[in-house]
């Protein structure tokens, strides 16, 4: 199954915020986790993830720190801010509303293809 681009983009922010709400993480690990959580259905690209993280940082939803990893290398970790948590709660309310509405709508209408 292929998700439309708009849907992937719309779900990206709450998903990243939800992952970071569980603890700080870095780009590669976030990407892996998204992949696992979606059972491989959500395939994000780096070109989507990193600019998104940078945007969330600019908006103040997340903060980033560079930490040393095995010797000379450094890795950029992202952590959620209080403002990010508030944003996540708000997004969650919105998504719940959308999902409830859709469920209700699908329950009452019968679609010939879905009946089988």
């Amino acid at each position: 199954m292929r998700l439309t681009k708009d849907l992937v983009a719309a779900a990206a922010t709450p998903l990243v915020l939800a992952i970071l709400a569980k603890g700080e993480s870095y780009g590669y690990a976030i990407l892996k986790q998204v992949n696992e959580l979606s059972g491989g259905e959500l395939d994000w690209t780096e070109g989507m993830l990193y600019p998104l993280l940078h945007r969330l940082e600019r908006l103040g939803h997340v903060a980033s720190v560079w930490r040393e990893t095995d010797g000379a290398r450094r890795r950029r970790y992202y952590l959620i801010t209080d403002q990010g948590r508030a944003e996540l709660a708000e997004q969650r309310r919105q998504w719940t509303t959308v999902m409830d509405t859709l469920k209700g709508a699908w329950h009452t209408t019968t679609h010939p293809l879905l009946e089988a």
Partner: protein
């Protein structure tokens, strides 16, 4: 975990990433970390390191796409910013990089006030002759300082500026002409040019034999001029606001503006403009070649129209002094257009439509110039004969004409595939010495020849 070959490949990949303007150092670090994580995971899954590298790069996707995504978030990066506050990670960071500029601009601003201690007002004739010295010596000093010139080169600079001062104040003053545009006026026009080329000597750090460094100086001249004009516009706004606001509260700022703000600001702006060109060299696109591209077609059309109009009307040119000067200006503009398109052109590129256009521009300028020269020739028999102004204008005309004529030949040869583009470039950079020679002749030889007669 990874072997040397893969390390090399990663370094190469990173170099590609860093070439993208949209991706900056921290992004490169972040993406490299990502790439390494992917490689590590793939090696763990059983791939050989080099295979893992290939797969990891492939997974990351094309850099074009990646940069496009980054550009959407960081669109500001596409606007190259001139960070004045000292780029981090550069060798000359912080205020040390500013020091020569601040000192030289400060000296310029102070020096310009020194003559008034001796009662020389800014409307005095002294300034007509000397303003170039006050503006350009600090700029030359700035370059001598930043280029770490050797004592010999500094000696040459001091000597040339002293000569300029002597020419302006001893020769020209002794030889005040009777004409309205006197020898003194000629010095006022030619001394800045002569001294500007001395600044060029400082700019190239004394390596005036190098054609490449001379070309750099031509580039610098165009950019510095544009910056100076821009700073001047800003200064105009500042002056206007100062006047208007203080007038509104009933304070007369006229003495401050005319005696301090304008003169000090102007000479300091010369140094600041020169410094800005240096500071932003690799940051902002050169503007002079862009303007050249824009105006070459327009000037070509105007000049061709002029030639056509001249042939149809059959009327002679009313040769006054102004006309002679006017046509010198036309030649200078055409020359500037050639110079600045050369400065930005890839010498190895094949001849294109723009080069053809340029040839048309040069030829039409030459045709107009010949028409003017014929008309001037018919006029030299009048009562005034060869006045200093006429000789200066004619001399400049001959110099510019020779340059453009040979440029036309070289351009034609280049379009015909007979001569390489480098020859045209070389011709123009060598010709700088001719301008320098002529400017110094006007400053030094004209007063004795015409003034003492």
């Amino acid at each position: 975990m990874t072997d040397d070959v893969v390390e090399g490949q990663i370094a190469q990949w990173r170099a590609f990433v860093q070439r993208r303007r949209e991706l900056q150092q921290p992004d490169a670090d972040e993406l490299e970390d990502h790439l390494r994580s992917t490689i590590a995971e793939l090696i763990e899954a059983g791939l050989r390191p080099d295979e893992a590298f290939l797969v990891a790069v492939k997974r990351m996707g094309g850099l074009d796409e990646l940069s496009r995504e980054f550009a959407r978030e960081h669109s500001d990066r596409l606007w190259k910013q001139l960070v004045l506050a000292g780029d981090t990670g550069r060798s000359k960071s912080g205020w040390l990089g500013w020091l020569p500029m601040v000192v030289c601009a400060g000296i310029a601003a102070i020096a310009v006030k020194v003559p008034s201690l001796f009662g020389v007002d800014f409307d005095d004739d002294f300034w007509t002759r000397n303003f170039a010295l006050f503006g350009l010596i600090p700029l030359a000093a700035f370059f001598a300082w930043t280029r770490r010139m050797k004592p010999l080169g500094i000696g040459v600079l001091v000597l040339l500026f002293t000569l300029g001062a002597v020419g302006a104040n001893v020769f020209a003053q002794d030889a005040r002409g009777t004409e309205d545009f006197s020898v003194e006026g000629l010095t006022a026009v030619h001394l800045p040019l002569a001294l500007w080329l001395v600044v060029g000597f400082a700019y190239v750090g004394g390596e005036w034999l190098s054609a490449q460094r001379r070309m750099d100086f031509i580039r610098f001249t165009g950019e510095a001029f544009i910056y100076f004009v821009l700073i001047g516009l800003g200064g105009g706004v500042l002056t206007g606001i100062t006047y208007a606001t203080f007038q509104a509260i009933g304070v007369d700022v006229d003495p401050f503006v005319t005696k301090w703000l304008v003169p000090c600001g102007m000479v300091a702006a010369v140094v600041v403009a020169g410094w800005l060109v240096e500071a932003k060299q690799s940051v902002v696109e050169n503007m002079a070649p862009v303007l050249t591209r824009l105006f070459t077609p327009l000037f070509t059309v105007v000049l061709i129209a002029l030639v056509v109009a001249f042939t149809i009307s059959k009327g002679g040119i009313d040769v006054t002094r102004d006309v002679l000067i006017l046509f010198n200006v036309v030649l200078i503009v055409v020359l500037g257009l050639i110079l600045y398109s050369i400065s930005a052109r890839d010498p190895m590129a094949k001849p294109g439509i723009f080069d053809r256009l340029q040839l048309a521009l040069v030829i039409s300028a030459l045709v107009i110039d010949v028409l003017v020269l014929i008309a001037v020739y018919g006029r030299t028999g009048d009562a005034f004969g060869y006045t200093p102004n006429r000789v200066a204008a004619l001399g400049l005309n001959v110099i510019l004409f020779a340059n453009l004529a040979w440029s036309a030949v070289l351009l034609g040869g280049f379009l015909g595939g007979k001569s390489p583009f480098r020859r045209l470039e070389r011709w123009q950079t060598d010709y700088l010495l001719v301008y320098a020679g002529w400017a110094w002749i006007v400053v030094f030889a004209f007063p004795p020849i015409f003034g003492y007669a």
